[in-house]
Amino acid sequence: MKRPSKHASAGAQRADRNLRFGWWSLLVFLCVGAVLEALHGFKIGWYVDVGNETRRLMFTLAHAHGTLLALVNVAAGLMVRTVERFTLRPSVSFALIWAAILLPAGFFLGGIVIYDGDPGLGVWLVPIGALLLFYGVARVAIDLSKLK
């Protein structure tokens, strides 16, 4: 990837930030996926026992959301380059990155300590991340519609 020059617009810099974040995030969640596979492979009771079903669900959700939101950030970064006149607002760039951090982190932390069918307190990060994601996606949809 060609780094934006000093003179490149702030919008392009933001897009590149989302792009970089997306790929690094994808790498992190690729590793998380490998760890989860290993937990399955070695039948680690802390993860696979029936009584730890909630933990397994939380970690699975963390992995799925982290991967998907990494791809959303990559897509957002690429859109700036491919869609004419489209720019990523600072708030949207911020929202998409933080959603991609808070959502999986909430699920992950919620799975570390569980109460039977309830996740741990860390899960409260999830609705905050969800709100940021909702805002980011809605804003992009509206901005794209306005380009018409």
Partner: protein, 637 residues
């Protein structure tokens, strides 16, 4: 006339591609909706409750284990693996014994043939000299890991009748139900028509309502088949409703961890915790007729956590409570106590362990209860897999060892040998073997007494209960046990008869004891520890002779114990066979022992009453046999 056609074509031509795509999507959604509605109609048709058996119904406050599963997956899973869940099941190919579809059995002058149609099973009955009648559907199955009993529709609402054969799981065999319990041989029917509705469902389901209609007709319903979550935790509707609120749940998680909308027996004091199990695992009786009627109509008023059984009470023969009710029982059912208790009030049937627990000295401390040693969910660290756990009495880890008693009696660790007078590795140094000997019987085997007690010769003389010493030292006399107990624990030596001094206690019990005593000894002769302690050679003739016992349950145990002895592991024997076949088998067994197995140089201790040729000492044998306690006994497990 062609004008409208032309205009439709015009319209079609003018529709854009996106319109066509939209139409396709709408058509697909409409088709899926129609299919969903059709399947929904079928779903409702399936959900109509059957009319030929008791049903699971909405009983106020009860929500069933399905509702508990989402929030308590671990506890649900361990309960699901337990035999409590399968204690009563709707008859399906998965819940019935494997060969149910092709049985041809005969008993008491009737022949029975089973058949399968789809997922339903039916029984046809043919009386002697008659022809097979209409098929009756098998609708429920009761019991799980030991014995399974099938229940048939009676063609009269939800009233059930018993299929007269039970499936013995360990042996993979069918036997007349009357021969799977310790019942006088003259009784040919144990559970009559309507007995499931009127009695079995009191404990084999969760919150059953028998709902007597008239005559012998019942309209029974249950909160759930089997013993499910709400049997021990009380009804869950309010608990679920209140805990829809995540703030409430997290407040509980982060503070007390205890929710007042539901009962957790693990958090109760000993007596209340034990009673949650004791609501079924005890000999109980109704306070009076109005309470019996109320129980029958509305189910148990007892809820786990309560201090008493509400409409019922735990029957302890010698306790000072409920004197009037116990007197009434003595008059209306004279054998009630004899069929359930030893003479001193100790329980002698299995499945009623709370009677023993409650009468134990440990219980007085207020902390001791069933869950001191057992756990209802597989939640102790280091526990084995769920299947093993369920098959071994749902014991906590190491609770099959001295660790169970050492939880409280910690000082015993240091002075074990001084206390037991046996080597530390000996089975005589295991707490259970002396303080919880196998003096209760049911489901065709002897089981440990749950009344923690100390062995004495007096208990055997006064009440006929085999004492722990002689249950292991089968070849020793009662006098020998009494002398050791006197020397080691300063117990007074009771007055002893000539036989008590000269004949092994086990020989006396198996020859002249009542059927309950004979069953305990027949089982005990197969116990590995007893065989190691007492020797095996002299056991053969007694076990072979006991193959002809008049009680089927005694014969069964003699056969199973005989199979533990060298040379007899594959000895063929049908314990339900007619008397002459039993005698032939015993003769065959005895000849096999004499000619193939017996050591010709074997020397038998005089207490065993076997001479050097391997024959019973006639004088002793005839006297003891003539003194046999022939009083009918029916161990009402």
């Amino acid at each position: 006339m062609s004008l409208p056609i032309i205009s439709v074509r015009e319209i079609v031509r003018k529709l854009s591609r996106s319109w066509w795509q939209g139409l396709y999507v709408i058509a697909a959604v409409a088709a899926a909706s129609v299919l969903t509605l059709i399947s929904l109609r079928d779903f409702h048709r399936e959900a109509v409750p059957p009319e030929n058996r008791p049903i699971q119904a909405r009983i106020a406050g009860y929500v069933s284990s399905n509702a508990c599963r989402a929030c308590h997956p671990g506890n649900y899973a361990s309960w699901h693996a337990s035999f409590h869940r399968t204690m009563t099941q709707v008859a399906t190919p998965g819940s019935l014994p494997p060969d149910t579809e092709k049985l041809e059995l005969a008993f008491n002058g009737r022949e029975y043939k089973t058949e399968r149609r789809g997922n339903k099973f039916f029984v046809r009955t043919r009386p002697e000299g008659g022809s097979y009648g209409e098929p009756q559907q098998v609708v429920l199955v009761t019991g799980s890991h030991n014995l399974q009993i099938l229940w048939l529709e009676r063609g009269d609402g939800r009233t059930l009748r018993q299929f007269p054969f039970g499936y013995i799981v360990a042996e993979k065999m069918w036997a007349p139900v009357t021969e799977t319990f310790l019942i006088p041989p003259r009784i040919k029917e144990y559970y009559s028509t309507g007995a499931w509705n009127g009695a079995c469902m009191d404990c084999h389901v969760t919150q059953g309502q028998s709902r007597f209609v008239t005559g012998n007709k019942w309209d029974s319903q249950v909160a759930e088949f089997g013993i499910a979550c709400e049997a021990c935790h009380s009804e869950g509707q309010e608990h679920i409703a209140r805990n829809h609120n995540p703030l409430r749940r997290f407040k509980i998680h982060l503070t007390t961890g205890s929710d007042p909308t539901v009962t957790n027996p693990a958090n109760l004091k000993g007596p209340e915790s034990g009673l949650a199990c004791g609501q079924c695992h005890s000999v109980w009786a109704f306070n009076d007729m109005p309470d019996k009627i109320d129980f029958n109509r509305h189910g148990a008023a007892f809820r786990p956590g309560a201090r008493d059984l509400a409409q019922r009470f735990v029957v302890q023969p010698n306790a000072p409570d409920h004197v009037e009710q116990k007197d009434f029982i003595r008059h209306s059912e004279p054998d009630f106590f004899h069929n359930r208790f030893w003479g001193d009030g100790m329980i002698r049937v299995t499945g009623r362990e709370f009677n023993g627990v409650q009468a134990s000295p440990c219980f007085r401390g207020g902390e001791f209860s069933c869950i001191s040693c057992h756990e209802m969910h597989l939640d102790s660290p280091g526990q084995t897999n769920a299947k093993t756990w369920a098959r071994t009495g749902q014991l906590k880890p190491k609770m099959d060892s001295d660790a169970a008693c050492l939880q409280c009696h910690k000082d015993m660790t240091a002075r074990l040998v001084a206390h037991t007078h046996h080597s530390a590795e000996s089975s005589g140094s295991r707490c259970y073997n002396c303080h919880m000997p196998r003096t209760t019987f049911g489901l065709l085997h002897a089981m440990r007494s749950h009344q923690v007690s100390s062995p004495s010769a007096q208990e055997s003389i006064a009440y006929g209960r085999p004492n722990a010493c002689n249950l292991c030292h089968l070849d020793q006399t009662l006098a020998w046990a009494a002398q050791n107990l006197h020397a080691w624990y300063n117990q007074p030596v009771p007055e002893l008869s000539e036989d008590d001094r000269n004949v092994a206690a086990a020989v006396q019990w198996i020859l002249k004891g009542d059927a309950g005593q004979r069953a305990l000894i027949a089982w005990g002769m197969g116990w590995e520890s007893a065989q190691k302690t007492s020797g095996r050679d002299w056991l053969y003739p007694y076990l072979i002779y006991t193959l002809t016992d008049s009680y089927a349950a005694v014969r069964f145990d003699a056969w199973k114990s005989l199979q533990t002895l060298p040379g007899f592991s594959d000895f063929p024997f049908t314990y339900t066979a007619p008397d002459d076949t039993l005698r032939e088998a015993a003769t065959r067994g005895y000849e096999k022992w004499l000619s193939e197995v017996r050591d010709p140089n074997a020397v038998y201790r005089p207490q065993t009453a076997i001479d050097s040729d391997g024959r019973f000492r006639k004088d002793v044998w005839q006297r003891l046999r003539s003194e046999r306690d022939e009083r009918p006994i029916f161990l009402a497990e």
